[in-house]
């Protein structure tokens, strides 16, 4: 009751603020919270004529296929490792590039570099998939063309699963670095220029200025970006994996993520309950991971935590 009275008082005092927050609140409620009731399908055997709420419960049956023949563990591991690797490489490269770009003095060169680095972000994975195939095709690919011209033996990339984590990571970084660096460039531009000037007058070299001024000032941005990415650590970037690897079974052990496995398994025999089960599994694990990571961050420095 006390809470409600406090809330009512608060509401009276800040009506305008509540009204301003209302659209966002309603949007999130309608688009994010209401659809969550659909998760109930993960525990049901769905029938079209009975609908979402009328269908019968079937316990954990929908989850069984994920863990049949031990694939559940493999795809969960792959998903997490790929996301970690991609998170580290793309954020690290983005920070480095952001620093380089802000240190460039000539305006036209700065703009040109930035545009070129941002360009891959606009290329769809479908097109990238074609690139990859034409690079690594055994008979006609560019890589083997070069190797043959140099008098070396051609390499069958599609027969070496171990190479693909690196290939995928490289393409991911190529695509995302430019986009991520924009955020860091904004953060660096926000740093007071006088601090840098003062440091320069005091004799700090460019590396010292980066180490002691630029990096500490973008730390909050970096932590937030990483936390946001960790929240999606169990969601494989379906389009990237599907367009680059597709149906090539030779590479699945090294490249299969939850999303691609679910897609393939259910493509010929779709079942909305089984797909819901996969989403449920991903969401629960994501929730646990983000809570743990956030708690760790909070312990280290409360200000950086997401909530």
């Amino acid at each position: 009751m006390q809470h409600f009275r406090n809330f009512a008082e608060e509401f009276k005092k800040n009506k305008a603020l509540f009204a301003m927050a209302a659209p966002a609140f309603i949007l999130v409620f309608v688009m994010q919270y209401i659809p969550m009731t659909g998760l109930i399908l993960a525990f049901k055997s769905y029938r079209f004529d009975l609908g979402v709420f009328g269908s019968k419960f079937n316990g954990l049956d929908n989850f069984r296929y994920l863990f049949a023949s031990g694939t559940g563990w493999l795809i969960t591991r792959n998903t997490i490792l790929y996301n970690l690797l991609n998170l580290i490489t793309s954020q690290l490269l983005a920070v480095i590039i952001a620093i380089f770009i802000t240190e460039i003095n000539r305006m036209w060169f700065k703009k040109l570099t930035q545009s070129i680095i941002l360009l891959p972000y606009f290329i769809s994975w479908v097109v990238v998939g074609v690139f990859v195939y034409n690079l690594f095709n055994y008979e006609t690919g560019m890589l083997n063309g070069i190797l043959k011209a140099l008098g070396r033996d051609p390499i069958n990339m599609y027969g070496i699963p171990a190479a693909w984590p690196f290939i995928i990571c490289a393409f991911n970084a190529w695509k995302w670095t430019g986009y991520n660096s924009v955020i860091y460039i904004a953060a660096i531009t926000g740093v007071d220029g006088e601090i840098n000037e003062a440091a320069a007058i005091d004799g700090a070299t460019i590396f010292q200025r980066i180490r002691y001024i630029t990096l500490p000032s973008i730390r909050p941005t970096l932590v937030t970006m990483i936390l946001l990415q960790v929240g999606r650590i169990l969601r494989g970037d379906f389009e990237m994996f599907y367009q680059i690897i597709g149906n090539n079974g030779q590479l699945f052990n090294a490249t299969d993520v939850i999303d691609t496995y679910v897609f393939r398994s259910l493509l010929t025999n779709p079942d909305i309950g089984m797909t819901a089960a996969a989403t449920f599994y991903q969401s629960v694990l994501c929730f646990v991971i983000i809570m743990v990571v956030n708690a760790i961050v909070k312990r280290i420095d409360e200000e950086y935590a997401l909530f």
């Binding site: 029938r47 079209f48 609908g51 296929y65 049949a68 690594f136 990339m157 025999n269």
Partner: protein, 501 residues
């Protein structure tokens, strides 16, 4: 100011209320007008909504206009055709039935999971309505076809009246075969190898056998040549011999000849009959575009190629020991359980499958604008960017369907021979009515499907060692639970056989 905020908040609440209303409404869809539809005497004008799966052609508006004028005249009905594009059909098609959208009819097919959807209550049962409202169509349906459309005791679809065949074989370049001096039909593995060796030497720029990311189909051909038949099109690693008195289902790896098959595949692969990167190649039209010389596929694909490239003289070597019809639900029409005018939809269907004028208007479009006919009644598409043929493939019947001008005569003669050869209820034909119910084995089938793609396909393309690879494939299928799948298949097959009496 205060009033304005209040107004804004009220509007939002109302919007929310409307959304909630939508959610509730879907469950009761269709029942509202139940009373008035029970007696349809054709006096009321009705607009039917029909869904098909394909990309909407540019000229559809013209075709619709022409068709609707005709339908209005003949049965006081108009039709709206909605299209689900190829890029999104896998997601959108099942959603048609779960969203509660009110529509009347849709194209369905075995490859769109007809049986699965029917079992889950997506369609309206037609047991009484079909004979009553589409009597002419019903009279033309064979017993086998109706059996295939029956799921859990109810008829859920109107099957196609144009028979298609299980035949698989080698579609190959006749001009190159003649150059190689191979004038007899190429329809054995020895001949394929011989032709392949010649191609490798004389046309090294060509891929010998067309293989791509959609997966190899050679093991299917191998089994079909030995007289075995797959349990269904989704599980092409489980076979049985329909000529046996009591057929026993078996996994592909238990076929005693399969080791030879994989040795042969490995040899073909080593010879470079296909690319080492084939499973990442998304180009599925290599034969059609002259980049590959042989493709294993069905007779309709072959007839399509012959029209596209008469100069390459495409030939067809049948590599199936026994001919039978494909299930007639390969193409079928279903009535949605949200339909308000199922009677009129069936009457329309009856007319469509018996009246050449209506059929032409739907299937080929407007004479002189989208197609023209030659003296033999064969059609030519005038501008394939404008309109080719309808995507409602289920409307085709043997009587009304026209051949495309340029299809070789052998297309008709071969099919006539097959029709003579097929005896209702004998051999494979006896089993084409069998539909596997996967309800109890969904998990195992999903896992086996995955094992096949991950270990079966690379093995079949000779990327892995034929002996070790086969052992691994078998191991993975067993881990995926294939034994339970086999048991269930055997049980259902025995029941089906018993039901035939």
């Amino acid at each position: 100011m205060k009033k304005r905020i209040l107004a804004a908040l009220l509007t939002m609440t109302m919007a929310l209320g409307m959304l909630a209303g939508c959610g509730g409404g879907s469950s009761s869809g269709g029942s509202a007008s139940g009373g008035e539809t029970s007696a349809d005497d054709g006096s009321k004008e009705v607009n039917l909504v029909m869904y098909v799966v394909s990309d909407r052609p540019a000229g559809q508006d013209t075709v619709d206009e022409n068709l609707n004028k005709l339908l209005k005249e003949k049965m006081n009905t108009t039709i709206t055709i909605n299209w689900i594009g190829w890029a999104e059909y896998a997601n959108k098609y099942p959603l048609l039935f779960s969203s509660g959208e009110v529509f009347d009819m849709a194209y369905c097919a075995t490859w769109l999971n007809f049986a699965n959807l029917a079992r889950r209550g997506a369609f309206m049962p037609l047991d009484e309505m079909l004979p009553k409202y589409a009597p002419d169509n019903y009279a033309m349906q064979s017993e086998t076809a109706l059996k295939q459309a029956t799921i859990d005791g109810h008829i859920y679809a109107v099957p196609t009246l144009l028979p298609t065949y299980i035949t698989y074989g080698a579609i190959y370049r006749g001009d190159l075969a003649a150059e190689a001096g191979m004038t007899d039909d190429i329809d054995t593995w020895e001949e394929i190898e011989q032709f392949g060796d010649w191609l490798k030497e004389n046309h090294p720029e060509m891929e010998v056998i067309d293989e791509s990311a959609s997966g190899p189909e050679m093991s299917l051909v191998w089994e079909r040549m030995a007289g075995n038949y797959e349990i269904d099109s989704g599980n092409r690693y489980i076979f049985y011999d329909p000529s046996e008195e009591e057929p026993k289902v078996f996994a592909l790896y238990d076929d005693p000849t399969i080791a030879d098959f994989y040795q042969m595949c490995y040899r073909f692969g080593e010879k470079g009959f296909w690319s080492k990167s084939a499973l990442s190649d998304t180009d599925t039209s290599k034969t059609q575009n002259g980049k590959a010389a042989i493709r294993f596929h069905n007779i309709d694909t072959w007839s399509g190629y012959t029209v596209l490239h008469p100069e390459w003289d495409f030939k067809y070597g049948v590599m199936t020991s026994e001919i039978a019809h494909l299930p007639f639900t390969q193409d079928c029409m279903v009535i949605s359980n949200t339909s308000k005018n199922p009677e009129r939809a069936l009457q329309f269907w009856n007319l469509l499958t018996t009246d050449q004028e209506v059929y032409d208007a739907l299937y080929y479009g407007v004479l002189g604008t989208t197609y023209e006919l030659n003296e033999e009644g064969q059609f030519t598409i005038l501008d394939s960017d404008l309109y080719s043929t309808s995507a409602m493939w289920a409307a085709r019947t043997f009587e009304l369907n026209r051949n495309q001008a340029g299809v070789p005569e052998s297309y008709d003669t071969v099919r006539a021979e097959w029709e003579d050869e097929i005896q209702d209820g004998v051999g494979i034909e006896k089993y084409t009515g069998f539909v596997l119910d996967t309800t109890n084995i969904t998990t195992e089938i999903a896992a086996c499907q995955n094992a096949r793609q991950q270990y079966g396909w690379p093995l079949e393309l000779g990327y892995t060692d034929p002996v070790e690879g086969l052992a691994e494939y078998k191991q993975k299928l067993i881990e995926a639970g294939i034994e339970k799948v086999l048991e269930e298949c055997q049980k259902q097959l025995d029941e089906y056989r018993a039901s035939l009496g």
